[in-house]
Symmetry: C2
Subunit: 226 residues, 2 copies
DNA sequence: AAATTGTTCTTCGTATACACTTTTGCCGGA
DNA sequence: TCCGGCAAAAGTGTATACGAAGAACAATTT
């Protein structure tokens, strides 16, 4: 297979639309654009220093990912994660991530485990520094890594968009939970290292239940602007 | 809240990009564009009778949904569902749809059940007529309806894109299974109507296991063109 | 035969134009 | 003062053109 070569040919080129999409997502996740806020194409184009075309294309993808809502002829607004949505999100995570934990336990290499441990360390350290944005980021990174180790591309791709929302919710609200969260992560990684699928699934479930109740308590009422 | 009114104001307007996206998806699902086939913007614009702008925006979304792969500066090709992907897809479906079945059983109204029964009838009839494209469509419609009844928007939105792929795989390969599939569907709907979450979950699991082994046997090797 | 060059195709981004819709703000009248 | 309606402004949706840059491919040279 010469595909490895061909994939690399034009690979270093990052289209503007992708950069815009990334910038837009992080702006929303970080709260620079608040839920309910109106996003006109001209404004975004100016904010990011590009023309309308890349902005439009990025907006379509952002809509598909659920970060903005587009109303025909009326434009885009930042989506509002409701507390209902949050509960639903955890129900889905529970199903998906228990599977991921099981698969990861069955397939994880030593290098995989080492990578997880590294993230664990960084997370503990960031928690001690009270660097919450970084903690949120590392939280996502750890879970995504497990998803990736599971080796199921569907799991990964679904979770990728899901996790941006998880991070969003994490940042917007339940930040106090960070220390507990990282303690549970250690259990989870231990279980994955052990290679015991059942145990890993149980650990993931415990973690998610705890996170769920915490997030739920914390997010009474929406975060919206309007 | 006056939102109900505002949502309806410009709602009947379907932007060209959405029409293009729909047409593109169905063309891929129906095999008009085969896996590996090259899709230039000009060609699509001509095929659908629009300018390149809507095509570009539709392509970005199609990429996010996994129907096409876009290589920077080289353009888009129709994605190729591998047999590995198919197995992974079913693993995810198993987790997601058992949850959906449980929730649907707990929440389904009489009208919901009636709608499912109607789809069941149409499916049986289409199966008898050997109208396989229609069967595939109704298969998706039934499952999506259950997802929707579950009331979990994440489940619905994830499944929406997942199901287009399910239908794709269904059409490309394992078509013979239709009759068995519809028999199992009846069990599933019965279970949902009973309101017994456990039973519904078991029925969904049984259906998915059967579909999975069938699809797996049928799809040895890829479908690709290149 | 291998390497180089040059041509062509295509994408990527920008800019511009214009129709149409929604929103807004103003104005006159009750 | 408040209301309704009307006109201007803002913004989206679509089309089109253009230039730059990359990739593919054929021709040419070594």
């Amino acid at each position: 297979m010469a595909e490895d070569l061909r994939d690399k040919l034009g690979a270093q080129h990052l289209p503007l639309r992708d950069q815009v999409l990334t910038a837009l997502r992080t702006a929303i996740i970080d709260g620079d654009y608040l839920p309910g806020e109106r996003l006109t194409e001209d404004r975004l184009a100016e904010d990011f220093g590009v023309s309308r075309n890349p902005v439009r294309e990025a907006l379509r993808v952002a809509e598909a990912e659920g970060f903005v809502v587009i109303l025909p002829r009326r434009g885009a607004v930042v989506a509002s994660p409701s507390s209902g949505t949050i509960g639903d999100m955890f129900a889905v995570r529970e199903r998906l991530e228990t599977l991921a934990a099981r698969l990861a336990a069955e397939r994880a290499s030593a290098a995989d485990v080492a990578a997880l441990r590294a993230l664990l360390d960084q997370g503990r350290e960031a928690t001690e520094r009270q660097d919450l944005p970084r903690v949120a980021e590392l939280n996502s990174a750890l879970h995504l890594r497990i998803l990736q180790i599971s080796g199921n591309p569907w799991l990964s791709s679904i979770a990728k968009s899901l996790y941006l929302h998880v991070q969003w919710v994490f940042r917007l609200g339940a930040e106090q939970r960070a220390p507990h969260s990282w303690a549970e992560h250690i259990q989870l990684v231990d279980a994955i290292e052990s290679g015991d699928g059942d145990r890993a699934e149980r650990a993931a479930l415990a973690h998610l239940d705890a996170a769920s109740t915490a997030a739920y308590e914390n997010a009474e009422g929406g975060y919206g602007v309007r």
